[in-house]
């Protein structure tokens, strides 16, 4: 199972890097979103995949039989943060497109250079 997860994470990173290296602002934003998904899956895998252990304590389940809750808490936090950042990126990307009339990252270079 860990091996499959590693392959999935690797593929997500590959897709994210590919998207982030393109010139289109929207693709870069999607790339960062996919990169953070890969990172979240990495936390899940690195925390140890629980198998069939129950995720939350229930009656009749001993502490030692429970899955490690910390990676879940970390992922939830990280997902919320990446949700917020991606939404803000989309807003700013859209506003930039409106103001600068371009969605090519090459055209967003700094205007004035030093003399």
């Amino acid at each position: 199972m860990e091996f499959v997860m590693c392959a999935v994470i690797g593929f997500l990173f590959f897709a994210a890097v590919y998207l982030m290296l393109s010139r289109n602002v929207l693709r870069i934003i999607l790339g960062t979103a996919i990169l953070s998904h890969g990172a979240h899956l990495l936390i899940l895998t690195m925390g140890g995949l629980g198998g069939e252990k129950p995720p939350v304590l229930q009656d009749g389940v001993k502490n030692a039989m429970m899955a490690d809750p910390l990676p879940q808490a970390l992922i939830l936090t990280a997902i919320v943060i990446s949700f917020g950042v991606t939404a803000l990126l989309l807003v700013i990307g859209y506003r930039t497109y409106q103001t600068a009339k371009t969605d090519k990252i090459d055209d967003l270079k700094e205007d004035e250079f030093h003399e």
């Binding site: 982030m20 602002v25 870069i28 960062t32 990169l35 953070s36 890969g38 990172a39 979240h40 990495l42 936390i43 895998t45 690195m46 925390g47 140890g48 910390l70 990676p71 970390l74 936090t77 990280a78 943060i81 917020g84 950042v85 803000l88 990126l89 700013i92 990307g93 506003r95 930039t96 103001t99 600068a100 990252i105 967003l108 700094e110 205007d111 030093h114 003399e115």
Partner: protein, 494 residues
């Protein structure tokens, strides 16, 4: 017990209050002032408490130390928290006149306080993942601040700034995940105990480099500095001052914490890396500061020189250099904010950022000119002023651990700082009459008063350095002995 969290929740509370009536300008100013003043008094209170009673540790939700999220106010973090709150106080005061009405009506003060929440939280936290969360809090606030107003320049720059930081944050999560897999905990004190018991220290060194890249992005260290000059020069001056004074220092603080506490294993490799990159950052800053004719850019490149110096002093790893580093960080927060405010005034009275178009300010605005001159002496480290003591300690520490060439380069770089700043003084203040805007006198005075006060504070920080010295010494002792930190955090835990 709970005093460690006060400098974080007080600004948060006032930021929430500010969100209720964004367009009431008087309400905004009054609440922002009360908020920042109470934050500052809280942090001074915690600083005093830490000095008398020892470090304040609180673990959220009454969980035991390695399981819950720990907040640790020790002498290093409270010193930085106090300096950050102090700098924010002056920037808010300056913003009353320098920020336009449109930005004021769009949650400007609320976002500034939220950024302080993130910065203070990042200084105080004792948990690696929580550090990531507070990084995101102040980054989110900094995205909003850099885009506030929505000019074309700002939108372009903040988009790129966000891309860089989102990428760095993803790396942070990856580093944290790998560290969790290796040591099985994220509490910094617990990690510092467990890494020493590992059988394979090499993997921790590899992870330390991943985390180092993240912090180097934030601190704008040598190979990762490219985003900073353009990103920082887009927003208006008070926001620039806030970024320049605080954000890079959070990166430096994180490197300081992680490299003294979490990764002290393979110091010959990691600290050589820190030293080389620190010196390279100083070189970049010197070249940029001398090559630029834009006054704002000159100050921005001076940030690099300070960051490089601080990283160099971390790499020396002895008590003297750590004391110098702590002292110099606080000095640098104050003086960088003061310089940005001064440059803001300079741009305001001349209406241009180009040094070649300025001139003759000394005759028209003598008070401003001499304040600027004193600030130059402060940042260059001329003896009675505050930069001197920090640099002297760092250089002494460098000589003590046998890094002669690096320490001589530090001395040489302060000459270049002096040169780059004196260049502004000669061209803008001395030479024949250049461009001037017609400036209403009351506005000029309102912007001058906070600036002069901040410069006076910098001077006082140098002259009365014996007041802060005990706190700095406590901090340096703590950095030299990481077991102290884990002792007071994990108190009562086997």
């Amino acid at each position: 017990m709970n005093s460690a969290v006060f400098p974080i929740i007080v600004p948060l509370f006032f930021a929430i209050l500010l969100m209720f009536a964004p367009t009431q300008r008087v309400y905004q100013k009054i609440v922002a002032t009360i908020g920042i003043l109470s934050t500052l008094s809280m942090s001074v209170f915690v600083l005093q408490k830490v000095h008398t009673d020892g470090a304040q540790v609180v673990t959220f939700g009454s969980w035991q130390a390695p399981f819950g999220i720990t907040m640790v106010a020790d002498s290093i973090s409270t010193l930085f928290v106090t300096a950050a709150s102090l700098v924010t106080l002056f920037i808010i005061w300056y913003s009353f006149t320098a920020i336009d009405r449109e930005r004021e009506g769009n949650y400007y003060y609320a976002v500034v306080l939220l950024m302080l929440v993130g910065v203070n939280g990042a200084f105080t936290t004792g948990d690696l993942f929580n550090l990531f969360v507070f990084f995101e809090v102040f980054l989110m606030a900094s995205y909003l601040l850099s885009v506030l107003g929505g000019t074309k320049q700002q939108l372009k720059e903040s988009l790129k700034y966000m891309f860089i930081n989102v990428f760095a944050s993803a790396l942070f999560v990856i580093g944290v995940a790998m560290l969790y897999a290796v040591v099985g905990t994220l509490n910094m004190a617990d990690i510092s105990v467990r890494v020493t018991q590992l059988e394979q220290p090499a993997i921790v060194t590899a992870i330390s480099v991943v985390l180092f890249i993240v912090f180097a992005f934030k601190a704008a260290l040598f190979p990762f500095f490219f985003w900073l000059p353009s990103a920082y020069s887009a927003p208006p001056i008070p926001i620039m001052a806030l970024f320049g004074a605080l954000l890079t220092k959070v990166g430096v603080y994180s490197i300081l914490r992680t490299y003294t506490l979490l990764f002290p294993l393979d110091t010959t490799f990691t600290h050589t890396l820190l030293m080389i990159l620190g010196i390279a950052t100083m070189v970049v800053g010197c070249i940029g500061a001398l090559a630029s004719w834009n006054v704002v850019k000159i100050i921005i490149y001076n940030i690099f020189i300070a960051v490089g110096l601080l990283i160099y002093s971390i790499s020396l790893f002895n008590e003297e250099s750590f004391a110098g580093m702590l002292y110099y960080t606080v000095h640098d927060m104050l003086i960088k904010a003061a310089l940005f405010l001064l440059v803001g005034l300079l741009v305001y009275v001349t209406g241009t950022q180009q040094l070649r178009q300025m001139g003759g300010i000394l005759t028209r605005y003598p008070t401003f000119a001499w304040t600027f001159f004193i600030a130059i002496l402060c940042i260059a480290g001329i003896p009675p002023f505050s930069g001197f003591i920090g640099k002297m300690l760092i250089v002494k520490g460098g000589f003590a651990s046998g890094h002669i060439a690096g320490s001589i380069w530090v001395l040489f770089s302060s000459l270049i700082v002096l040169w780059s700043m004196i260049r502004i003084f000669i061209y803008a203040f001395w030479s024949k009459e250049g461009r001037f805007e017609t400036v209403p006198k009351p506005t000029y005075v309102k912007m001058l008063v906070p600036t002069v006060t901040l410069v006076a504070l910098c001077v006082a920080y140098g002259i009365f350095s014996s007041v802060v010295w005990p706190y700095v010494q406590d901090g340096a002792k703590l950095l030299m002995d990481p077991t102290l930190y884990s002792q007071f955090v994990l108190k009562g835990v086997k």
